[in-house]
Symmetry: C2
Subunit: 336 residues, 2 copies
């Protein structure tokens, strides 16, 4: 019984083959290993390809070959400029190698991430890139069972699902605390949110303060995780209301720190004279502000680039955990 399927209208290998009067395989070869095809045949096939405007179907090709050139990325939020830099670093190398990037918003919760991962896995990606190391058990289990190369970024963990390329949130916070201590600050407040990644930054700050025996409190906002300038303003005000004599403020994101800077100016609080401010992530505006915003510069773009390298050449580096480090960038808001 002949089954008639409605044609998709697309030009396929068979169309090209028919026109060039060769078999489908020969056309396939012209595309993949042209050297294996006789010049005359190749010319004929290439003419047919051009004439028909044939475009190979990558999905079909990869299904047949059992490969995949899609890398799935879960971003907490698409409009977070810092994660976007990582996606960018990844995409740049990936596109160069002909790969594709499937992007999904995972919200800021592990549960939302799990849903995103589940769906993404159904696309049989070559690898999946996650921002952060805090996931549900289900997520970890799915990922491990799938055998898909998984890359965690934006933090470090001793127990990665697969590989982890990031920097130490704790160490970064610690470095800020040390900086405050050595520049004579005596009353630190760390402001942030409840995300594990951010908590680790605050913990590092506290540890450094403890080591130097100076006061350190933390202020953990209950605002939704999306970093808004406005939240920075509020945190600044709350922090100083709670501890009027505070002389050093650390914010887990420059987005908040910029809000704090704005609010300080409005309230006539002098930075860095009255209070030093240090942020995180090196926002585009941090260096442009007056005073310049001291911040922790993280390897945002290069985490993406390294992730891509790892996907493209799995054997390039063997280590499951790669620490790319961070830099304390000191500007006017909290000078050296």
């Amino acid at each position: 019984v002949a089954i008639e399927r409605k044609s998709t209208g697309r030009v396929t290998l068979d169309d090209v083959a028919a026109r060039a009067e060769v078999s489908r395989m020969t056309v396939s070869r012209v595309l993949s290993r042209p050297g294996d095809v006789a010049p005359a045949t190749r010319t004929r096939v290439e003419a047919a390809i051009t004439a028909l405007g044939y475009q190979p179907d990558l999905g079909a090709r990869e299904m047949a070959a059992g490969s995949s050139s899609i890398v799935a990325v879960v971003l907490p939020a698409l409009d977070n400029p810092f994660f976007a830099r990582t996606a960018r670093g990844l995409a740049a190398r990936l596109h160069q190698a002909g790969g594709h990037m499937l992007l999904s918003e995972g919200g800021y919760t592990p549960e939302a991430e799990e849903a995103a991962v589940r769906l993404l896995l159904s696309r049989r990606p070559r690898a999946i890139v996650l921002m952060g190391v805090d996931h549900t058990d289900q997520t970890r289990a799915m990922l491990r069972a799938s055998g898909v190369r998984t890359i965690e970024t934006w933090d470090l963990t001793p127990d990665p699902i697969d590989v982890c390329i990031g920097f130490s949130s704790y160490q970064a916070g610690f470095a800020v605390g040390e900086h405050f201590a050595t520049t004579g600050r005596r009353r630190i407040i760390g402001c942030g949110t409840n995300l594990p990644r951010n908590r680790a930054r605050l913990k590092g700050l506290e540890a450094a303060a403890a080591q130097h025996q100076i006061a350190c409190e933390t202020l953990v906002g209950d605002q939704p995780a999306a970093g808004l300038i406005q939240h920075g303003r509020e945190m600044f005000t709350r922090a100083l209301a709670k501890t009027p004599r505070a002389d050093a403020l650390f914010f887990i994101s420059d987005t908040y720190a910029l809000g704090a800077l704005l609010e300080a100016a409005r309230q006539g609080v002098r930075v860095p004279d009255d209070v030093a401010i240090v942020g995180f992530n090196d926002h585009d505006l941090a260096s442009q502000w007056d005073p310049g915003l001291s911040t922790v510069t993280v390897p945002d773009t290069s985490m993406g680039a390294h992730a891509a390298a790892r996907v493209l050449d799995p054997d390039a580096v063997a280590a499951p955990v790669v620490d790319l480090g961070f830099t304390l960038t000191l500007r006017g808001s909290s000078p050296p």
Copy 2:
């Protein structure tokens, strides 16, 4: 001759079918139209699915069904916060409907976009979303020939490839010019880059100025298209050097306008007393700054949402061109 393929290790429909002792088709039905399967059978199949941890292969499914739930998006730059908002609006609705977003960086040139489109088309996406209406002839031809639904955003054109959802760059620029004219400004300078979308904004500005018979010059920077705060500073300085008596500055992006605000403060130029400043896109910081930055608020997120709606339900709206409009948001830097 029996050909042995190395097993991918993945759990397939056949594995589930074998375990549930039914045919592959029955499993497929349990997934797509469970009502068509006898309850007892269904229970057995569902148990097998759970036991095996089966995850359907969406790529294979869509290839067989001749459908696709992937929407391809070409962004000029991944870290441009304004385009990111559009991607976000798109992703939100798309994910809700189980769709996926394939993202590609198209640089800021039509040629780079063409390369991105070509590659993306090979993925047989359900639709492809472009930022802007300026494309190479090849891009337009490919897209038209492919039959893939194409959505152009961030501008308007009388001759869309397929559908266009945006706002008028020209009208927006015109509105800014009108605003300057009616608030007593007499020497306008429009600052921007050479992108067609941006040129149209400046053209609108000039047209409004001409209509009100006031002076208007434009300053088109040759900087690479990535909007840097630093460029805004430079433009501000150059503009005032060229026309010291200018009393109104329009920047085609808030990124530049913020740089200008920063530079004005540094140079002691009073805003808005000495010079009024209006930007574009309503940057997160625009409302937070002091003075607040007047700007053109565009339907960034909603262009994405509308695009998604159009992809999900092609018949929802028939019009090939949808004008979502814009708003002139006046703040301290150029008050009403």
